[in-house]
């Protein structure tokens, strides 16, 4: 996977003082939000239903325009119609339900749909499809009919469809919400690989467990950024995180309770195994 096609352009999605008010709404869905999204890094977006997460996601590739403030993708403003399709090609978007995003009759046709529509020549199409399927671990399933895939495979197919446009950024709105444990860990592994290949990722989720290794976390609350920092900083004060509506993983609460019982559990023990290990060793 590659980043932006011309590397001399400064890569960054910047949201500057962005507000969005939907027609007829009493309060803004987003209220003066400033954030940046960096290639090769994952920004996790947390917050309860209705806090503005999906609104923010839709701003990143000009599916939605701000009521005030600016969204700038690699130097291009999303309100500038002249660069709209460049922005859309650069910022991939994956939604919660994979069923709504699959158009092809077989896997490889589905992945080719986006670049083919943008006029990518046939010889390049093949390598794009192969690269995208490889990145999400679906190599070998090119001729499979999408409805025969597992839910996790379907969601990875949706991600591959976005990747075939060679985006510099990928915005995912609760990509694991519909998946079982196995599908979820496969999708998370695919996202980690993409990050390592330089793709900037915005991962919207309710599950802090899914983004515990994110580079940055922003917590939205009623349209404003209530917290911005790293996952470890967010979890340093579990009570404060809960107050922000963040679902502190039960394992973190367990680790905290064990420390109160005098069991020395390390602060970076975020798995059942590492917590059990700490209890056993103490």
């Amino acid at each position: 996977m590659r980043g932006p096609s011309s590397s001399e352009e400064c890569g960054l999605i910047e949201l500057h003082e962005v507000s969005v008010t939907y027609p007829g709404a009493e309060r803004p869905a987003l209220d003066h939000v400033t954030l940046s999204i960096v290639p090769g890094r994952t920004l996790a977006l947390l917050g309860p239903n209705g806090s503005g997460k999906s609104t923010l996601a839709r701003l990143c590739n000009a599916l939605l325009l701000p009521t005030s403030g600016r969204v700038v993708v690699d130097g291009m403003s999303t309100v500038d119609e002249a660069t709209l399709w460049q922005i859309r090609a650069r910022v991939g978007f994956v939604q919660q339900n994979p069923e709504n995003q699959i158009v092809g009759t077989v896997v490889e046709e589905d992945v080719a749909f986006g670049p083919e529509n943008l006029g990518v020549p046939a010889h390049e199409l093949r390598s794009r499809v192969d690269d995208a399927l490889g990145a999400v671990g679906l190599t070998g399933l090119e001729r499979r009919e999408p409805h025969l895939l597992s839910e996790g495979q379907k969601q990875r197919l949706a991600i591959a469809g976005a990747l075939a446009l060679r985006p510099a950024y990928l915005v995912l709105d609760e990509p694991t919400a519909m998946l079982d444990g196995e599908g979820r860990s496969d999708v998370l592994a695919a996202l980690r690989r993409l990050r390592a290949h330089g793709v900037g990722i915005v991962h919207i989720t309710h599950h802090l467990e899914d983004v515990i290794d994110a580079d940055a976390v922003a917590v939205l609350d009623e349209g404003t950024v209530a917290f911005s920092g790293t996952p470890a900083e967010l979890l340093a004060d579990p009570q404060a995180a809960e107050t922000l509506g963040v679902e502190v993983p039960a394992i973190v609460v367990l680790a905290e309770a064990l420390r109160e019982h005098g069991v020395p559990v390390p602060r970076d023990a975020f798995t059942a195994e590492s917590v059990a290990e700490a209890v056993w060793r103490s």
Binding site: G50, G245, L254, V263, V279, W280
Partner: protein, 276 residues
């Protein structure tokens, strides 16, 4: 009075070249007061099972009986209310109250509007605030709860829910779990889920499916005493329970498992103190 399925088998497209056996020899027993958790990974057959219990599919072999009548019989109409996955895609009325009262009105209930208002309140949607709202203006969590209210309003003695908490935030999940829990005083409830974490602490029985067959059937206590078949079916237990299982695997005398982190911490720290 019970919903009983015996030796249930179901094959999709039976008799054609495309036939796929989905369920093989399942037994289910559900009565008032029960919370049956039907767990399984994607494709394990759990949604097919729920449709059979609701009488929406006829079994290839075996039987489903609702209080003595076949589930697909006319006499069983309205006795098992089912909530599908993504029920919010099924709204049709102009107001939430009209939408939720459709079921009871159709079944000829007295005071359908009051049943609808009670059901909305039960899922944490104040009928005074939400009753006149268009169902199409709700947030994801509100819409899911409203759709569940549609099934609650029917006051069916059996409530069958397919992934009722998927995609909800913690508050939404808690509201749904509480609302479902409250129904148990008058109904038998079965919940199909790939992520049974929230439902396990209050479940009376757990049925874990793997490739259409029973991988585990028993009480929660039995599950925690012998979790291997459940875990091997690709299912996970809550992380707090997993930590206790790992500690027990390491040889710590953990004893009975706890779901709550604080109680688990007390048990683990005690186990650590008592080991030889």
């Amino acid at each position: 009075m019970a919903l009983v399925a015996a030796n249930l088998c179901y094959t999709y497209a039976a008799g054609t070249a495309y036939e796929v056996p989905a369920l093989l020899g399942l037994d289910v027993h559900l009565e008032c007061g029960d919370l049956l958790v039907i767990a399984g990974t994607t494709g394990s057959g759990k949604s097919t099972l729920l449709r059979l219990l609701a009488g929406l599919l006829r079994p290839s072999s075996g039987t489903v009986g609702l209080d003595g009548s076949p589930a697909s019989d006319r006499r069983s109409r309205g006795r098992a209310a089912m909530v599908f996955q993504n029920p919010e895609s099924q709204f049709f009325a102009e107001s939430l109250l009209a939408d939720v009262s459709f079921g009871p009105r159709n079944l000829g209930a007295q005071e359908p509007a009051r049943l609808a208002a009670d059901a909305l309140a039960a899922v944490g949607l104040d009928p005074d605030t939400f009753g006149d709202r268009s169902p199409f203006t709700l947030s994801g969590g509100e819409a899911r709860r409203a759709a569940i209210a549609g099934a609650l309003a029917m006051r069916a003695p059996y409530l069958l829910l397919d992934e009722p908490t998927a995609g909800l935030d913690r508050r939404g999940r808690r509201d749904v779990v509480l609302a479902i829990g409250r129904e148990r005083h008058r109904a038998g409830v079965a919940v199909v889920t790939h992520d049974p974490e929230e439902f396990l602490p209050s479940a009376t029985r757990v049925l874990a499916l793997h490739a259409g067959e029973t991988a585990f059937a028993g009480s929660v206590d039995e599950l925690l005493a012998n979790p291997s078949p459940y875990l091997e079916a690709g299912l996970r237990l809550p992380e707090v329970v997993m930590a206790q299982l790992f500690a027990r695997g390491r040889g710590l005398p953990v004893g009975a498992m706890e779901f709550e982190p604080e109680a688990a911490a007390a048990r683990l720290s005690h186990a650590r103190g008592t080991r030889s």
